[in-house]
């Protein structure tokens, strides 16, 4: 038996891939193997052929990379050369004329990476991780070593590289010259920084607009979140479960639909606007478009996040502190002001900063409700998608937006610290919580009541809007025409025919979500495990980059992907894969956080026990870690799935006629004023999400609990 496992330990999969590299087509469209191409006129590929050849021979002598001292330098040289040639010789020839002296044939250029090139990248990364593991990287564990290097490469490729390309694009002038000047001229444009509106004279620049909106949204959502949290945990209002459930709503609400509902309620011909106008005998106006409308929509969307952050902090406060204050003779209001509020300060700051970031990154609400009120995310969108395509300008605006969100995020991390991140829960034995003083309670009720009514109204519109004749004109005759327009089908003898205009986007969305969710979850949890349990050089940088991708607004990701993946060597725009990849790396930090929190609860000696019994990293993960953190795995999966179905800010740049997404389709309907159709589709989308989550729950959740329960029941006690 030992013999068998020993041979397997010698086996190394990168070996296979190195062989494959030599046969697979090197470029993406109709090309031959690297060998044939090199013999042809792509002479700069010869070093690659040579290297692949040497590695193959080494692999034939002994498939275990750890035995070859030469493998390390070879592999690194190979990776460098691979990317160097790819980035210096583009579609229309080399970027530096110097290269023509070396390789005259480079003048014809080359297309992007194909299967062969990607196989080689994978093989080299694999070989590198094996070589490093042999030197004691990750305590010699091959799986962990490969995971670290693999994920680091992926983060480099799909997070860092696009951002760098984006920053680079900001320095390229419209006629393709690289210099610092275009960046500065774009940066100081008056429509960015104008502050006229602050003194009541005209419009402001987009940066000022965005920041003002962010601050207002942050303050409102934090205030409301605090009020809600106090009502839930410090009064006898029995609505905790309801509010918690309600806080999930914004996550599963597709973008635009809240905006549309607000227009239906408060637009110029909106239900409430018209009522109020006739009551006061004034002319109905477009007042809601601009700051008021966006702010309303954002408060609705972000208050739940603030609420959850503050609630967990409030519940983590040791009640004895408040009791101590009371026994010292402080009145309830004094205790609240002098003890409770100061203890909440980090959570309030965190809630504010999170909302601020979300508001800046928000795209769906400003685009529907913005009117003349431009913010960074919409300006960026129009610079890329609008009449005058101007990547340089979009890139510059993106850099500004990125700096704002990253700064806010850095403040949150450093200043507010991790106190809000690691919260204590399950405190049951440490005294009774003191109820909020009556004044506070009534202030909270007064704040929350309009919010609750408003939410109720908006979701009422969402609920019925798709199934009545014309919600905007209050024609409430029930109808399924909107639904049928979107999802008509026919079952004939040739099979199922889908006619509805929305089928295409719906199916793509389901595919993308179904593909990206498990990947997101897998990479997220794996990253969490690496950070929590492995020691390796460069871990801090690794952690920093994963955290960074939290703070990158979707719009910026979208533009950066266009800047990075529109041209060889990595030419992916217009494919389904770019959508999947985009979601994986945008949502992976959430899975990572869930994983980190769960891993912190697990005694790591269980994993070490598994290792000492002969399990490698992958087995430890499968046998011990995953079964123990299954609830968070599930949460991460659901979150990834749902976000992929409702996200818009990044994908709006990446969809194509062939691969359209539901949210992009809905946006098109909203722009055309087809509100009812938009709402109907959104409702269907929400239903689909609920059904899918329920199915996942049934398939995965049952298996987790089922096993444990059956054990419990089956054993005598």
């Amino acid at each position: 038996m030992n013999r068998v496992s020993l041979t397997w330990a010698r086996f190394s999969w990168p070996t296979f891939l190195v062989f494959l590299t030599l046969i697979l087509p090197w470029y993406d469209s109709g090309s031959e193997s690297v060998f044939a191409e090199a013999i042809g006129d792509k002479s700069w590929l010869f070093p690659i052929v040579l290297l692949t050849g040497i590695l193959s021979i080494l692999a034939l002598i002994d498939p275990n990379w750890r035995r070859h001292a030469l493998a390390g330098p070879l592999v690194i040289t190979g990776l460098c050369w691979l990317f160097l040639q790819a980035f210096t010789i583009g579609l229309r020839g080399p970027h530096w004329l110097l290269i023509l002296d070396l390789f005259p044939s480079a003048v014809d250029g080359q297309t992007g990476f194909g299967f062969g090139a990607w196989a080689l990248v994978l093989a080299l990364v694999g070989a590198l991780s094996e070589v490093l593991a042999a030197r004691g990287f990750c305590r010699g564990d091959r799986f962990a070593s490969f995971s670290v290097i693999g994920i680091a490469s992926l983060l480099g490729l799909f997070v860092l590289f696009p951002i760098l390309k984006l920053v680079f694009a900001a320095f390229v002038s419209n006629d393709g010259v690289i210099s610092i000047y275009p960046f500065f001229s774009r940066l100081v444009a008056p429509d960015l920084w104008g502050a006229a509106c602050l003194i009541g004279a005209g419009r402001c620049g987009v940066v000022i607009n965005s920041v003002v909106l962010g601050i207002l949204a942050g303050i409102s959502a934090t205030g409301l979140g605090l009020a809600l949290a106090l009502l839930v945990s410090r009064t006898d209002f029995r609505m905790k479960r309801w509010l918690r459930a309600l806080s999930i709503l914004p996550i599963i609400t597709p973008p635009f639909v809240v905006g549309v509902a607000i227009i239906v309620l408060f637009g110029r011909t909106g239900i409430i606007t018209v009522e109020v106008a006739s009551l006061l005998e004034i002319r109905p106006s477009r007042w809601v478009y601009g700051l008021p409308g966006i702010l309303m929509a954002q408060i609705l969307a972000f208050t739940p996040v603030a609420f959850l952050v503050i609630l967990s902090a409030l519940e983590a406060i040791n009640p004895t502190l408040e009791e101590a204050s009371t026994t010292l003779g402080a009145r309830p209001l004094t205790t609240f002001r002098k003890v409770t509020l100061p203890l909440l300060r980090p959570a309030l700051a965190a809630a504010f900063l999170l909302t601020f970031i979300e508001s800046l990154a928000d795209f769906g609400n400003p685009i529907v409700l913005g009117g003349g009120y431009d913010v960074l995310s919409t300006k960026i969108f129009f610079a890329v998608v609008g009449a005058q395509y101007d990547l340089g300008r979009a890139a510059t605006l993106s850099v500004v937006l990125l700096l704002l969100t990253v700064t806010a995020f850095a403040i949150q991390q450093v200043w507010v610290g991790r106190s809000t991140y690691v919260t204590v829960s399950g405190r049951s034995d440490a005294g009774l919580v003191s109820p909020a003083p009556p004044v506070i309670k009534w202030i909270a009720v007064l704040m929350v009541a309009p919010f609750v009514f408003f939410t109720f109204g908006v979701y009422l519109i969402v609920l019925i809007g798709g199934f009545v004749h014309d919600i905007a004109r209050m024609e409430l005759a029930p109808t399924f025409t909107h639904l049928w327009t979107a999802f008509s089908f026919e079952i004939s003898d040739t099979g199922l025919q889908l006619y509805g205009s929305a089928w295409n986007s719906m199916i793509t969305t389901l595919w993308v979500s179904a593909l990206s969710a498990p990947l997101t979850m897998g990479i997220g949890i794996l990253t969490a495990w690496l950070i929590a349990r492995q020691e390796f050089a460069g871990k801090h940088i690794f952690e920093f980059i994963t955290l960074l991708s939290f703070a990158i607004p979707g719009t910026v990701v979208g533009v950066s992907y266009i800047a990075a993946f529109n041209i060889p060597p990595i030419d992916m725009t217009g494919t389904l894969w770019i959508l999947v990849i985009c979601f994986v790396f945008r949502n992976m930090p959430v899975g990572m956080r869930a994983g980190l929190a769960a891993l912190a609860q697990i005694d790591r000696s269980m994993e070490e026990a598994s290792q000492t019994m002969g399990a490698g990293g992958a087995r430890v993960l499968r046998d011990v870690v995953l079964p123990l953190i299954k609830p968070s795995v599930f949460t991460a999966l659901v979150y990834a799935f749902v976000t992929a179905m409702t996200a818009v800010s990044a994908v709006i740049f990446l969809v194509s006629a062939r691969h359209n997404m539901a949210t992009a389709y809905i946006m098109g309907r909203v722009e055309n004023g087809e509100y009812a159709l938009a709402i109907a589709y959104s409702t269907v989308l929400m239903l689909v999400m609920i059904v899918c989550v329920a199915l996942m729950n049934l398939m995965i959740g049952r298996r987790i609990l089922g096993r444990r329960l059956s054990f419990k029941e089956g054993s005598p006690s």
Partner: protein
């Protein structure tokens, strides 16, 4: 066959700026139970983890059964480990826990179950195979952890403070069980503890560590009776350390004169409290007397300083403030510095 089961050669382990293990040379023979003993933070756990492969040395080599495993991960070494928290998998039954290792190493499930049942019977856990670890008592969990570690006949079995979660009364019993299992299977074992009594009771040899280095290695009796230095004397059992001078075969410290054949010069000697006799009347004064059941401990104020004396209960007793004379037995005095 006769190579050491484990060998450390100049092993160093650093974590950033702290050096947890600072250059250790050590050989552990087949079938021997060796204890790592030392104050908190001296590097015991780290040394154990270096054997397990849960840490790799920063420099130096670790050999197991004659093979250099310095760069091998834990999964490819053949060791068993019993963790302080037992680290039983809560989602697997006792039986599944025990067969986990053998099946990983390629044994068929059936064969693994058979040998696991046999082993569980042997260590008194018959009929508990289907329970979850959470349904066992602490002592039973501990036995499962041991069974899980020894089932695949490891080259060495490692214990990291295995008794710290066992309540005080059970400790002696469990410790004897571990010792007899180790003897019965002829296992090589490394045992970490910071309880010196436990170390004295179970070990073939004790390795006393301090600040990442080995102070002394030897059988319990040797460490107790012939400590190499003041640290050992003080750490293993209680000791009175008295500084003085040796001159021509006599140790002198103020009013004390003891014959001691050793090199001339300043010296420190160690005298065990139970090796000092008390006579009524004299220049020393009893400061306090503590009744400990089997003996009485006196703190005595003498010219050479405060001295701890331990006398059996059946001897004449003294009270605080009594005047006494100290009586040293020259044959049990050790020079430690």
């Amino acid at each position: 066959m006769d190579q050491p089961a484990i060998e450390f050669r100049r092993v160093v382990k650093r974590y950033g700026d702290t050096t947890a293990v600072a250059g250790i040379d050590l050989q552990i023979e087949q079938g021997e139970l060796v204890t790592f003993l030392g104050p908190s933070g001296c590097g015991k756990t780290t040394s154990l983890r270096l054997i397990a492969g849960l840490e790799l040395p920063s420099s130096g080599q670790v050999y197991i059964a004659g093979r250099d495993v310095s760069h091998d991960p834990a999964s490819s070494r053949n060791i068993g480990m019993v963790f302080q928290s037992y680290a039983l998998f809560p989602h697997m039954s006792v039986l599944e826990n025990v067969i986990y290792g053998p099946t990983l190493r390629g044994l068929s499930k059936r064969a693994a179950i058979d040998s696991a049942r046999e082993l569980l019977d042997l260590i008194g856990l018959q009929g508990l195979g289907d329970r979850l670890p959470s349904e066992l008592s602490g002592g039973q969990q501990q036995r499962v952890a041991v069974a899980r570690a020894i089932i695949q006949q490891p080259d060495v079995i490692l214990f990291d403070e295995p008794l710290s979660n066992v309540d005080a009364k059970l400790r002696r019993k469990v410790r004897d069980e571990i010792r007899s299992l180790q003897r019965r299977f002829g296992l090589t074992a490394v045992y970490v503890t910071h309880d010196q009594e436990e170390a004295l009771a179970v070990s073939d040899r004790i390795v006393v560590m301090n600040q990442g280095q080995i102070e002394q290695v030897g059988p319990p009796s040797m460490l107790y009776e012939r400590p190499k230095n003041a640290f050992i004397a003080n750490f293993i059992g209680d000791a009175n350390l008295i500084s003085g001078v040796i001159q021509g075969g006599i140790f002198k410290a103020t009013d004390v004169l003891i014959p001691l054949q050793d090199q001339d010069g300043p010296a420190v000697i160690s005298v065990r409290p139970e090796r000092i006799g008390l006579l009524s009347g004299g220049s020393a004064t009893i400061l306090s007397a503590s009744y400990l059941g089997s003996r009485i401990e006196y703190l005595v104020d003498a010219l050479i300083g405060e001295v701890l004396v331990s006398r059996p209960i059946f001897e004449p007793r003294f009270e605080a403030q009594d005047s006494v004379t100290l009586q040293f037995d020259p044959t049990t005095i050790i020079r430690v510095g």
